[in-house]
Symmetry: C2
Subunit: 487 residues, 2 copies
């Protein structure tokens, strides 16, 4: 039989979701793709000015040889293969076996779908840990285990996105997951600038001005995103700053999305949760704060865990009307459940071995070592930036990143600006590309995170081991300045 | 300081995404919530007509005591805690340690983010397995590891949803993930009926008529969803049927979304992949079929794996233009990566121990046992339905479900129809609720999956162990008919 239809062409960009086409995601954009390409070339034996790629573009500690905590992995191994609790009993401290057994008794198997919010045994423990952290109660019914914090952000932004006038206040600079998800939903990303001169503090007056301006333009603001400790800034918010943000949310009916995934990455200063400050304010003044809606996010990917690939995370919801929370729950249900081993990992993170228990010493030693390594590398990278000509960096307070400013001006670097303009790029793009091509160090240009017009930054992690790469960066920088700065 | 602002109210349903409010998801809807509630009451010691809930509403084998395959779990345990390969060497067959070592050499740690498509080591192996299955090549660059198949569906429907006129052809009855995701994106779910009289076969003439009708209404059809083996129908498509569907896709430029997650749950008949049929057609007639775009989905949640909670899955893309595929990839990038242990599990599923290797016998014995248990229970449940008055069921061919028809008519069951109408429910809702309240068996009313107007069905898994529950169901049914059928 001869077939007779006329075949239709394949789809092009003109046929698909325009917002998906426009959405940008800098962390894994052009620079990361080039880094992958260069890594391939190295593998094929090509000669490049470096022998490996330093992935400083993404907070992925175990890619950079950070060791997982034994406590986590021992329990997870038994969850995967429960026979180990008897067949390899000698390998494990007793508290590891106990914890694994508690989980297995509660969930049966990590291969079964759990409750869509996450297994109750994990949610109950997380609620207890939050209550201990803040000194205020937490309800397991309002805790949702999610695949990292990213899934939580998607649920929240999807549900709160009423129409194309819906606006989301996000800090600038920000983590591009927010702009990407907002763009994908065709909502309005409304940036509020963090104050670089004040170590990236939030400026309530600026936020209020932005709100007034956007309301006058017809933007219907739905939520205020706070990233604390900051990504990419590394700044830690003070309690008073948080209280001001809560006031703004209370007055304008904005959902507070508190991205607190770096709450255990603190070098200088102290992390205070938005939940705690909100509970304090409510206690003093319930009429003013009872309607405030807060979603706090946490993750196993950061902290001293660095278990990115395990996709563990949670969000706690406070103050949502039951009908709105039911819709968020429905979205979680459609996705069935987050990975159950990742749920278990969240519990292990928030409820580590107690003093006196057999795993305690090892856990302490390993996690302290990771924390001090991170702190040391942060300081070392900061020192290097301090010594680079025309570079300024805030002292690291928390998170896993530095966001140094390239003080390049058209006046002093005219050829560089022409070069960038000719390639339809920003100055920070050119710098990051050259850095990668010359040293193998992959970081992200600041424009992927947002920055004040006419300023240029880079986001880099300080996770890569050793200091050799930092020296290479300093050397590259010298040459870069020598090449482009007007005498 | 006295604060002076007026607090805004909390958000209500009128303030949020209307599509998220409207979206329905029957698998975890009213009946599942009632089942949770009853389970709680049982736990609190309340006396009910049953002592436990039989969760036949969701394909969740390990919740119902199906044992995980030792092969999977042994490898996964070493991935979580690599020291086991030395410290508990005696516990493991050599091929388990080898496979784990191969993975660890390639990915470093399952705690690191992988490539956003999934780690190359897994994609290469999956491509090889697909090539072996079909006899046609598969390219690892077009394979995307996803968190179960659900995440793949979300990526595809998001990217293909151009605007509110975008339509997606889905089988009726269907798995409600599709209608839910389409509703959430405010696209048009265009149902095509499967032919119950022909054991739920697809009817190409019906599909062509539906396409013509919807095109004339201005619906811009983007994709044709095929679920094979069928959920909830359990039917398996014949090669000729698949070829007809491919012709339709080729002629109308529809992306084929082939949900093949039950490809290893086959009792009668043979599974043939859409990819294979497409490759055969292309070979014969490249001009006609070169533009066909196919996304095939697979998962570790089904088959004899039943590893739902591990969230492993993949999609293979064929024939997409590079620019459209790049957008799908970008979406995957924004979510960073799927859980890496789940990625490993996909590899273990598609590349099991070979004859002669130390794990082979155990693997064979365990997986054959699961397969034969499933087959036996399917047949037993089918027999029970056959014997129930006014119930008809297709003989099970594949998947994990039966979708029996309740032959209740207003003529013979007038009081039942009045009862349903009075509660603003369907007849199948009433039946499923009564079944649950009387026996603890939780299944899903057919209207959650779609059914021809005026017909009533139930979807039930046959995963629950034992036969006591089947007897209880038969007994309940007798009483139900006695209560409602006109003498």
């Amino acid at each position: 039989m001869t077939k007779s239809f006329k075949p239709a062409p394949a789809l092009t960009l003109a046929d698909i979701n325009p917002y998906s086409v426009e959405t940008q995601y800098a962390v894994r954009g052009e620079i990361a793709n080039l880094a992958d390409e260069l890594a391939k070339q190295l593998k094929q034996g090509q000669k490049l000015p470096f022998d490996h790629i330093v992935n400083a573009n993404i907070g992925n500690p175990q890619q950079l040889k950070q060791k997982p905590l034994t406590w986590y992995r021992q329990v997870l191994s038994i969850l995967q293969y429960p026979d180990l609790a008897t067949k390899a009993r000698d390998v494990y401290p007793a508290d590891v076996i106990d914890r694994a057994q508690t989980f297995l008794n509660a969930v049966g198997s990590v291969g079964a779908y759990s409750h869509s919010k996450g297994a109750p045994v994990f949610r109950e423990s997380i609620a207890k840990a939050i209550a201990e952290r803040d000194g205020f109660p937490s309800d397991p019914e309002h805790i949702y285990l999610t695949g990292g914090a990213s899934a939580a952000v998607t649920y929240l932004l999807t549900v709160l996105n009423q129409n194309e006038k819906s606006g989301f206040l996000i800090p600038i600079p920000q983590y591009p997951l927010y702009t990407a998800t907002i763009a994908l939903g065709n909502a309005v990303a409304v940036g509020y600038y963090l104050d670089e001169a004040k170590n990236w503090r939030t400026d309530p007056a600026e936020i209020r001005a932005v709100i007034a301006d956007n309301k006058s333009k017809g933007v219907d603001l739905k939520a205020l995103v706070i990233i604390n400790p900051g990504n990419p800034t590394g700044a830690i918010l003070k309690e008073d700053d948080i209280a001001e943000l809560i006031d703004i949310a209370a007055e304008h009916g904005l959902v507070l999305i508190a991205d607190e995934v770096y709450q255990c990455n603190v070098f200088h200063g102290e992390f205070v949760s938005v939940k705690k400050v909100l509970c304090q304010l409510k206690e003093q003044n319930p009429e003013l704060y009872n309607n405030v809606q807060l979603a706090s996010l946490h993750s196993t990917s950061k902290g001293v865990s660095g278990e990115c690939g395990q996709r563990g995370g949670y969000m706690e919801l406070v103050g949502f009307t039951p009908e709105v929370e039911a819709v968020i729950y429905k979205l979680a249900s459609i996705n069935l459940c987050s990975v159950v081993s990742g749920q278990a990992l969240v519990e292990l993170m928030v409820n580590p071995p107690k003093p006196g228990s057999p795993s305690y010493d090892t856990y302490q030693q390993e996690s302290n070592q990771i924390a001090s390594d991170l702190r040391e590398r942060a300081d070392r990278l900061y020192d290097a930036f301090e010594q680079m000509e025309d570079v300024e960096s805030q002292r690291p307070e928390g998170a896993m990143y530095l966001f140094p400013k390239l003080n390049f001006t058209r006046e002093h670097y005219p050829a560089l600006f022409d070069e960038a303009a000719g390639k339809n790029k920003q100055v920070d793009d050119v710098y990051a590309l050259e850095l990668l091509k010359n040293t193998g160090i992959c970081c992200v240009p600041g424009n992927g995170f947002g920055q004040v017009e006419g300023t240029y930054h880079l986001r880099t992690t300080f996770l890569a081991p050793g200091t050799e790469w930092i020296d290479k960066w300093a050397q590259f920088h010298k040459q870069f300045v020598a090449q482009w700065k007007k005498a």
